[in-house]
Symmetry: C2
């Protein structure tokens, strides 16, 4: 068994990289900028150069490294190591796996960034390596990672787990980044929550949100959760609506997957129990008793490091 692993998490602005011991102890983690020029052609080279530099700094010989696991944004063909479509970076059928393997001469494993973050949380975060898991990220958008039978579910063309794009309003929903409208993320993302707060203010509702908007000239999901806690009825209505819609959708997803855990990550999850309490109540209203019985809600603990942990675990899982 090799002693070390590398995890890589490619984002639109920075690439996070981690060197790990085989059991998950972190040796070093760092970031490099994402060079998007010429449709990101230099990225594999940048990644490997930076890994080599850090290995040398820590006196780690390449022969001790079992493999590199990479999470990348977009639709991925995990088997072939190809990024089919990576809108952020401009990738189109980009053979990242092959290129990185050619440079490093190490085995390279890839999957979608949300999926890789999910296995990271499952390995060293709130997951405890369960076989059936849903990880939901409530940030600018709503991301999802699904694990069934201990494996990432990628689907027929890398689109599995896109739970942010479950339709929750059949008609008249807010426009979504995907080009449709009424998707889950238009209601339950940080952006969606802030939008509902602003709408309430613009409708002239009697709420402290109006005052806060006047002072800061913007509103965030955190404002909504904070004021709901202080008893603001309008903010509470928004929290109730958001958690009802999310609990309903997660009940449907859980009826498909029957997970033993649902882990909530992303900025909105910082609300902790103020999010989980109403979310659980909604979930329990819409799910089968046996699904509820088998399923615990947790808050993600790895934050932005979930992707590099997940990359390392993806390599570990494939080489062992």
């Amino acid at each position: 068994m090799k002693k070390n692993l590398v995890g890589v998490d490619i984002g639109g602005t920075t690439i996070k990289i981690g060197l790990f011991k085989n059991e998950g102890e972190i040796i070093d983690k760092w970031e490099i900028p994402t060079d998007k020029t010429n449709e990101g052609e230099r990225i594999p080279h940048d990644i490997w150069e930076s890994i080599e530099h850090k290995m040398s700094k820590h006196y780690i010989d390449k022969s001790t490294v079992g493999g590199i696991g990479v999470g990348a944004p977009g639709f991925i063909d995990a088997k072939k190591g190809i990024i089919l479509i990576g809108v952020n970076i401009g990738w189109n059928d980009f053979e990242l796996g092959k290129k990185l393997n050619a440079l490093s001469n190490l085995p390279v494993y890839m999957d979608n960034d949300a999926n890789v973050a999910a296995i990271g949380e499952n390995w060293k975060g709130s997951g405890d390596l369960v076989d059936n898991l849903i990880v939901v990220t409530l940030g600018t958008g709503v991301g999802g990672g699904i694990i069934a039978n201990g494996q990432i579910v990628s689907g027929a063309n890398g689109t599995a787990g896109e739970i942010g794009h479950i339709t929750v309003e059949k008609e008249g929903g807010a426009p979504c980044n995907c080009g449709r409208s009424g998707c889950l993320e238009t209601v339950t993302s940080a952006t969606g929550i802030a939008r509902q707060a602003l709408e309430a203010v613009n409708e002239g509702k009697n709420t402290k949100l109006a005052e806060r908007y006047k002072n800061k000239n913007k509103l965030t999901a955190k404002d909504v959760f904070d004021l709901a806690k202080e008893g603001d009825a309008v903010a509470q209505d928004i929290v109730n609506h958001v958690t009802d819609v999310l609990g309903y959708s997660l009940a449907s997803v859980a009826t498909v997957i029957n997970p033993s855990k649902i882990i909530m990550g992303g900025g909105v999850s910082k609300a902790g129990e103020d999010l989980l309490r109403p979310l659980r109540a909604a979930f329990e209203q819409y799910a089968l008793p046996r699904i509820i019985e088998g399923c615990q809600f947790e808050i993600a603990t790895l934050g932005n490091d979930a992707g590099i942990y997940g990359g390392a675990y993806l390599a570990k899982q494939n080489i062992e």
Copy 2:
């Protein structure tokens, strides 16, 4: 490699059994009654006795049989071969796998009947052994079988794929057999469709369903599809509502799984294109373009034999 396989499909009234060659050619298939006395304790014995009898009839030596695969109703611990809860038969933590293995001295593999039927359809029905599949059975209830990464998804406590119990009416839905209300199966099962037809008649709506009800004193899902085809507006409304609700739910399920096929089985699927046409239209209204692109709808072709084919394939998959 062993030459032969056995598939068993346990139902509340009969147990279907099939002897197969390793590549799926059927040697013989038959049924025995389900003996429910003393909480079904004789069932393992009945199954094995009947298999031995048929093997001898076909001059098949036990040494040529690779294993027995069993689909059983209820919540199953597939790894341990235990039926946790089998309401129909009265089973409770029933060690069917262990008992059948002790009698036969052959490897025994088990899963929930809907899941096993799904892999049967995938092997020798409309599936073509795809890695990511949803099979939906529209019968008395609505059953679901999910395959991801080529494997049955059973979930944390055997409740995965219970898509008949996705909540589709948050308030005021019809009561469901599961004790809740507003589940998908209350709207889209054969029973649910017939109920909506009867409701329309009782409301005094102007429809040929009323005449048919007067003549036969009952209404079926087939009546609804037949009269919709003949242009009856009320029957068409029911078909539209049923396929809208089903298409919406399947769009959500497909957003989780990203299947390359969705196979429709059960009595209602006999409507063929009259079901698939409006169902596809609804699905395409609610699903991401990339999910739609990757997914074909098919009608199941194995009918009641899906379970025994699936049992045989479950054994094949585990022993190879």
